[in-house]
Amino acid sequence: MKTLKTYAILYLVFLYAPIFLLPLFAFNTSTIIAFPLTGFTTEWFTALLDITEMHSALFNSLKIAVTSAVLATIFGIFGAMASTRYHFPGQKGIMGFIMLPLVLPEIIVAVSLLVVILKLGLSTGSWSVIAGHTLICTPFAIAILNSAFAALDPSLEEAAYDLGETRASTFRRVTLPLVMPGIVSALLISFTISMDEFIIAFFLTGADPTLPVYLFSMLRFPKLLPAVMALGTILVVLSILLITIAEIFRRRGAKRAGLKDTGGFL
């Protein structure tokens, strides 16, 4: 186990290497992204304030991420409730299909949506990115909510019903409070995925780029790279923050349901 532990720690270093390098170069005075470091500066962060196109891309991304997260979580609630609470004909096939985007390369989702949108004579835009992101976030939301619903003892709902509540008020008084941590967690994860997603946005974004699409275009200009590092630092910090909050909610949910916590999101 000693050797394994050393290996595990080295592996973590490998996993985190890019993320650790990010702030080093974001605060480095040199415009060339290489060692040795030359000095400390925050100018790349302040430079971000002047790039107005980036601001609109950020705003666009936020709008898309919030909408996609809400939609994916709603679809996720339906899907997770159906798959954990009920048995219906064709369940495996239907659920498998809904979860398919989890393994399907995003480029396939992107081009197939693009083809249909163009064929229908519509033009791409934020709405089509939202449609695509909702599609790929829903399986993640379902995965998270499945464990939230599965942890919920069905006799709790029956008990509420037995004590005089209707189906709707049972959902409101018992189901919802108990799966709320799962819902919050699904919202945050979906938001994070949508904020980071590049390929679908690249194909379907139309005239207004999302933040990752804009970032991708920045990568072509070496002069902008320190600013990319600064932006990346901010994004990574935000992602880690959101994921940590999501994890806290997920654990709280598991604790509430009296479960022993064993694993992560997937």
């Binding site: 532990k5 985190y16 390098l21 290489a34 809904i98 390369p105 694993g263 997937l266």
Partner: protein, 302 residues
């Protein structure tokens, strides 16, 4: 006799009916935005482009002929498969000891922390991570400048950027949690008393690992292989940023056909072919895995 309407109403009050009703919004969404587009792309792959948005009437196999005979496409497809396969092997081999360590070598209350630590990088911007690998592996990159600084090398290493190696390293990094998690879950499911029973029956630690742990972890390994292999073949960003001309993959060509050359049918054909090949390989792998896991035996699980 019940009327059809009444029968339907009755059905939607049963457990099955309620379940179907509940899943229908999500299923419908997936149908409209996934099934329909996937069918559309298959259909388009049999068409030929004539104008900006116009297709010639009638279906043909022209695109498939071109995709399969043109050495450029064939090479891209083979390279994509090779990269995907290498990434899968590297990722799963590197991941197994980690999953094993977290499951068997970490105190139960610390397990979720480890899993959390392993998954965090996955949730940070993919684009930024890939770009950082370019920074790390580049000619004047972190690795080369670092090695030069400490005097291990005089000239920058060139075999690590803008080629297939760089693509493999970057993808292996990106898909690490995907490989670790299913294996970890499978290992967690193993009742520890099985291992004690094996030791009690006289097997050594190594043999217990080979005869008990590994077979029981097989479903997790199979899941890990598929979950890494299938999406990596369609990766666009990594080959674009770190692959250089010798490292481009099929997804880059699909993108070029769609957005640059405005040849949607050929792009669609390449996409369909890629999916088809991946699906066939996945199915063959599943069957072989099932056989190997003793699926033919009575009571065996696939």
């Amino acid at each position: 006799m019940m009327t059809a309407g009444e029968k339907l109403r009755r059905f939607f009050r049963t457990d099955q009916g309620v379940g179907l009703l509940l899943v229908s919004p999500t299923a419908l969404y997936a149908l409209l935005l996934l099934a329909v587009p996937l069918i559309a792309i298959v259909v388009i792959s049999f068409l030929t482009q004539t104008g900006v948005r116009d297709f010639a009437p009638g279906l043909s196999l022209v695109n498939y002929k071109e995709a399969l005979s043109d050495p450029l496409y064939r090479e891209l497809m083979l390279r994509s498969l090779m990269v995907s396969g290498s990434v899968t092997v590297v990722t799963v081999l590197l991941a197994f000891p980690i999953a094993y360590f977290v499951s068997f070598g970490v105190k139960p209350e610390q397990k979720s922390l480890w899993i959390f630590l392993i998954t965090i990088p996955f949730w940070t911007s993919y684009l930024i991570r890939v770009f950082l690998w370019k920074v790390i592996l580049g000619y004047n990159g972190v690795l080369n400048s670092g090695l030069k600084l400490v005097g291990i090398i005089d000239e920058p290493l060139t075999f690590i950027l803008y080629n297939v190696n760089a693509v493999i390293i970057t993808l292996a990094h990106a898909y690490a949690p995907f490989a670790i998690l299913p294996i970890f879950v499978a290992l967690e499911k193993i009742d520890r008393s099985y291992l004690e029973a094996s030791r009690d029956l006289g097997e050594s630690r190594t043999m217990t690992f080979l005869r008990v742990t590994l077979p029981l972890a097989a479903p997790g390994v199979v899941a890990a292989v598929l979950i890494v292999f299938i999406p990596t073949i369609g990766d666009y960003v990594t080959p674009k940023l770190v692959g250089g001309p010798g490292g481009t993959m099929i997804a880059n060509m699909i993108q070029t056909q769609f957005l640059r050359l405005n040849n949607a049918p050929l792009g669609a054909t390449l996409a369909v072919l890629a999916m088809l090949i991946v699906a066939v390989i996945a199915i063959v792998f599943l069957i072989v895995g099932y056989r190997a896991a003793g699926g033919g035996k009575k009571g065996g699980r696939g």
